[in-house]
């Protein structure tokens, strides 16, 4: 009896101590995760007179930064439009191509299948910097400089290896007997795939599509070289540009407002598809 009563408080105290450490750890890490976000949003709402003051919330919230970014000489609206066109086109094309490959790699048995998958996956490791020079020359020859396709096509090739890998993982778990059955019942090969497998695989396809979209939206290196003017600059290049035109003060207010505009759609997508993204992340590996 005595051991039981003395054991209990001790156990409770140990839990308390553990909880304190965990709590402090979480607080620190949440600060690390959240502070940059929070500061970006808060600073974007501060006017030019207040940006230098480090009050933790805007005393006099104003949209002047947003108005300046979207309407002023930065023409950020164009950049948003360019990025939407580039990222959406990249996602659609890459997903069509990747679905075909994922199907072949998950469903069909053929010699050298693992080798093909390994080679495709190995393509994802090449540093963009290594191919940016040859790509620039290639696109210059084709007259593609400052055109959307000069960013869309490399984005597709960067996204494909991991998209194919993640989709293959998803497709492996599909009930392929159903497809077989549909074929026996007279569906063509595309009909069987489209009507039976694709709806079942929709979560995986959506997840992969989101990861491709994120990667395309965030791409900077290739765009910084092949996109010259406002007509084709995506958001990443545009932000880096007005980070660079330094007068005496860095244009932090407009930078932060632009950051919010660029990050907001992604955060909304993350909120909507949290579970699926988690699944896709642990299945493949995107960043």
């Amino acid at each position: 009896m005595r051991t039981a009563t003395t054991g209990r408080p001790r156990q409770r105290r140990r839990w308390g101590w553990e909880n304190w450490v965990i709590g402090a750890g979480i607080a620190l890490l949440l600060l690390y995760c959240l502070a940059p976000f929070y500061w970006m949003v808060v600073s974007s709402l501060k006017g030019p007179g207040e940006i230098a003051s480090n009050s933790l919330w805007p005393r006099d919230p104003t949209l002047v930064n947003y108005r300046g970014v979207l309407g002023g000489r930065d023409h950020f609206g164009y950049a948003v439009r360019n990025s939407v066109v580039i990222a959406v086109t990249t996602t659609l094309l890459a997903m069509v191509i990747a679905v075909f490959s994922g199907y072949a790699l998950a469903r069909l048995r053929f010699r050298g299948r693992n080798l093909v998958l390994a080679l495709i996956l190995a393509c994802s490791m090449f540093p963009g910097v290594a191919i940016v020079t040859p790509l620039y020359q290639l696109f210059a020859d084709w007259g593609w400089i400052d055109e959307y396709q000069a960013m869309i096509v490399p984005n597709i090739s960067f996204a494909l290896p991991l998209a194919i890998f993640v989709l293959t993982t998803f497709f492996r778990e599909m009930p392929w007997e159903l497809e077989e059955a549909a074929r026996v019942d007279g569906c063509g090969p595309f009909g069987a795939f489209g009507r039976i497998i694709l709806p079942l695989a929709a979560p995986g396809v959506v997840t992969t599509g989101l990861l491709v979209f994120f990667a395309a939206w965030n791409e900077y290196l290739i765009s910084s070289v092949v996109s010259i003017t406002l007509a084709s600059n995506p958001v990443t290049v545009a932000i880096a540009k007005f980070a660079g035109d330094s007068e005496f003060q860095q244009p932090f207010g407009s930078q932060m407002a632009a950051g919010v505009i660029v990050t907001l759609p992604l955060v909304v997508l993350v909120l909507l598809f949290q579970r699926r993204i988690v699944k896709g992340l642990s299945a493949g590996g995107f960043r």
Binding site: P36, V129, A243
Partner: protein, 309 residues
Amino acid sequence: MGRPAAATRPGRRRGRFEHWFYLSPALVVLAALLVYPLYQLVLVSLYDYRQAQVSGAQPLRFIGFDNYATLLGDPRFWGVLGNTVVFAAACVVGTLLVGGALAVLATRLRPWVRTVLFLTALGAWATPAVTGSAVWLFLFDPTLGLVNQVLVGVGLEGFAGHSWTYEKWSAFGLVGAEVIWCSFPFVMVTLYAGITSIPEEVVEAARLDGASTLRIAHSIMLPMLRPVLAIVTIQSIIWDFKIFTQIYIMTGGGGISGQNMVLNVYGYQQAFAASQYGLGSAIGVITSLLLLAITLVYLRALRRNGEVL
């Protein structure tokens, strides 16, 4: 006569080349936009190829491995390689520590707290590198930054106007903090999935046998997580070896007199700022070879883990 009979058995006897039909679009794109440029890269790295050759003022001259010899004999190259390795290693370790700690924490949290944690982490992951870099630069700005003002506020007067990007390793540290900030979520999410897939009974049985928490972590969790850990580690190595955007933006193209150059930024600067296309390409080739070696290890780890390969 045999052929129509085969055609009446749909789905069984499929064309011998059907898979190539499905794979061809991807293979064509990858060949045209990754393999061909890489071939070009290797080719250019064997030439004396500079601004004069681009404009046609001087003829293209094949110089074999001279570009490589120049690089390997240049102490600057070795310095940049050292920077790359140290910086990548620090980022990998930091990412694994933060991601691993949070993954373990996540298993012990109430569901709603865990959801909040995952959402904030995914938010950091989704933030474009350009935006993340801008925010972190602003936070650590010498005069307007929140960090310095807070430090001065708590009595550390020395931080008034302190520049975090002036000193080499301080600049690397700042970039590293941003890199870890946007890359730990991947590690956390993957390890969390790995931990939760460990059967509860195994841990419970060990606990009933009197194993301590530490012992369980060391003798049961760690061995079962080893394959996942291997993949996460190698993926992080590949990524952190390739960091470009954050360094390029946060240190203004490689830091004061190039002190914060890593291989990627160095190659980019040689090609686009110095117009040394041959030399820049040689740097690209060397980086690719190093990454190829890491990738081979990665593929082996995947295979051992019984993934789709």
